[in-house]
């Protein structure tokens, strides 16, 4: 290896610098909160290198995630719920034993979550799911699942976030509010960066926000279309009509036709237009169709200029979960492995439908919180089933589960690969050690997998 290469390699390995003689700063830290996956955080550690003192460059949410991992009251050992509702500490071995038996005994276990963990843990999870014939689903099911369906129907002309930073001069935020949900998105990628062909930063861009609320993002926009809630499909359709220069009714979704023509012209006249969209469209009436037609708008725009569309993915590695399952099973979420081969059909093999329709008889949750983020009827079903929650935090899900297994924080206490919202894979960094004796997701899953194989072998 040449000296120059060696130097570059050694940079990667010791990505920290010493500040004075006290704190040690870990650089190039990747934020394990949202799909923006910022990778320029710096974390100051105390002299021992065991405690996080400060987090630089992160947004408020990301900083909190790092700091909260240090909480004194954090659970460090599994807990099993007792008959009287109280919790009893158990060993990881006992927890793995319960989990393995629950999964083997169930006719159709649901294994849900998989978004706040690394791809290698997800990969072990896939093998486990395959062994026990589970229904595998990730948080896309309540987030961008609609998007995945739409992409299957019409495809997706997209780009990495750097393409946006370097080229885009028309930026649309449709049904998303990055000021709150992806706080550093606009500064890192979409509005403010001075890129290769966008040297004037935000001055070289026109910003359009479509939202029924006057959000903090909308307040920054050149154009805010405050549409009637739930009429995204109609409005996007109208934009397609306008792009083709056809006639429109006077108003669509509460927006005057002339404004729609103006927006269509704005998008067509740019050198590079991008549409970012979020749960405002994935959650509203029509769901996948709203995205389907937004993608169709993007496709249409490519006949006039260059255009791309990018979903604002939520969890920092929900995208990775869909990728891992894609290469292992061929589907990004809602995968029913119960028959020994993979089947897929959201509406049938999706978590909320499975729970509401009483189609599953055990619930395993890792790296997500359906207790907080599923409609309560679905949570009630989880509460009635044999259930395991694997999560560093105490959550509504852990509260209704029979077993809670706390694990190390991925991206803080253990590294591993995660995929950004534009599918770019980034290796998260270990910053500090987890509390003594705590396992990672991957280690716990490996224990369960081993135990499942033993139980099945014996049967």
């Amino acid at each position: 290896m040449s000296r120059s290469l060696m130097r570059l390699h050694s940079l990667r390995r010791s990505a920290y610098r010493q500040v004075g003689n006290l704190a040690k700063i870990v650089t190039d830290v990747v934020c394990p909160f949202c799909g923006t996956l910022c990778d320029d955080l710096e974390v100051a550690l105390d002299d021992s290198g065991e405690k996080i003192l400060e987090v630089y460059n992160a947004c408020a949410i990301g900083a909190t995630k790092f700091l909260h991992s240090q909480a004194e009251d954090r659970l460090t050992r599994p807990q099993m719920k007792q008959e009287d509702g109280s919790w009893k500490e158990v060993t990881y071995d006992e927890a793995a034993e319960y989990t393995a038996h629950m999964l083997v005994d169930a006719k159709k276990p649901l294994m849900y979550g998989w978004s706040s963990t690394s791809c290698s843990a997800q990969s072990v999870g896939s093998e486990l799911g395959e062994e026990v014939g589970a229904c595998m689903d990730n948080t896309a099911t309540v987030c961008h699942g609609s998007t995945l369906i739409a992409v299957q129907d019409v495809g997706v002309p997209s780009a990495t976030l750097g393409e946006i930073a370097n080229r885009a001069d028309r930026v649309v935020f449709w049904g998303c509010n990055p000021a709150h949900a992806h706080p550093r998105h606009m500064s890192r990628y979409s509005i403010f960066p001075r890129g290769f062909f966008t040297g004037k930063g935000s001055k070289s861009r026109k910003m359009v926000v479509v939202d029924p609320r006057r959000t903090d993002t909308a307040k920054m926009a050149d154009i805010h279309l405050q549409l009637e809630q739930g009429r995204d499909y109609e409005l996007l359709s109208a934009i397609r009509v306008a792009i083709r220069g056809e006639k429109l009714p006077e108003t669509v979704a509460g927006i005057p036709a002339e404004t729609i023509y103006e927006v269509a012209d704005t998008l067509k006249s740019g050198r590079f237009s991008v549409i970012f969209f979020g749960m405002g469209v994935t959650h509203s009436l029509g769901k996948n169709h709203n995205i389907d037609i937004a993608i169709s708008v993007t496709r249409d725009l490519n006949d006039y200029t260059k255009a791309a569309i990018i979903p604002m993915r939520g969890h920092y590695n929900v995208t990775g979960s869909g990728q891992v399952w894609g290469w292992q099973f061929g589907f990004p979420y809602c995968i029913d492995l119960s028959r020994g081969f993979a089947r897929y059909n959201p509406g049938d093999s999706s978590s909320n439908d499975l729970l509401i329709r009483d189609e599953v008889d055990a619930a395993f949750v890792l790296g997500s919180d359906p207790g907080a983020h599923f409609p309560v009827g679905s949570v009630r079903k989880i509460a009635q089933l044999p259930s395991v929650c694997i999560d560093p935090h105490i959550t509504p899900t852990s509260a209704v589960s029979k077993l809670h297994v706390p694990v190390a924080f991925v991206g803080v206490e253990v590294g591993g690969c995660a995929y950004r919202m534009d599918n770019v894979p980034i290796e998260t960094r270990k910053v500090v050690e987890p509390p003594e004796g705590m396992l990672t997701d991957e280690e716990f899953l490996t224990m369960v997998l081993k135990r499942v194989k033993e139980i099945k072998g014996a049967a």
Partner: protein
Amino acid sequence: MAKITLTPTKIPTLRLEAENISPDIFAGKSKEEIAQLHVFVGKESQALGDYFEIAGETGSTAADTTIVINGDVSRVKYIGMKMTAGEVVINGDADMYVGAWMTGGKINANGSVDAFSGLGMTGGELTIKGNAGNYLGAAYRGDWRGMQGGTIRVSGNAGSDIGTFMRGGTIIIGGNVDVHVGTHMEGGTIIVQGDAKSRVGGQMVKGDIYVFGDIEVMMPGFQYRKDVDIEVDGTEGSFALYEGDMGERHGKKKGETIYGKLYMKY
């Protein structure tokens, strides 16, 4: 035609996957052999005979075989899936995927059916006396080839997403429909005798949609052309003809652009 009767004897825990309930599978088999056919509850393979009492006999071919289900099968999926000939009569409600991917024969569901019935259908007749769920006669996920032939007739209401990516055949709904009718349609006919909510004919390329009742919200890409007097499924009347979806691509025939047609009854 030989008739074989299935009477449900117990309600499955979870749901029962019974794609074997089809004249194609039953034909030429004895009652005992049919009782041994697998059904699945999750990962457990069980026998059809564990859930149904079986009487009567089968014909030697699918075309000679009628299956009559007497009772509630609202927790049984895939009845008549992929069938090519023969007949299935369901005297009760059925779960998802009734007649999905069927290519021929008849299914008479005298109760209601759940979602994804008639999915990817290419031929045959699917008749539903009760209501139908979502995605009736729609395409399987990702496929641009939805319903391509055959007839689906529902006396009651239907859910959302009927006839998505439809390429041929006919869907007739006696009652009302939920959102998204004939989305991405590129052929075939949908007749809604009741009311529709919104998103009728969105992204439609080609084909015909008739709505007898009201459409709560029209798609902006449909343009009124003229009034026509026609007969639709035995009903004569005056219809307003709209063409669209103007936002979508359209082919040409003899130099003329071919649009999707939406007929609204006066």
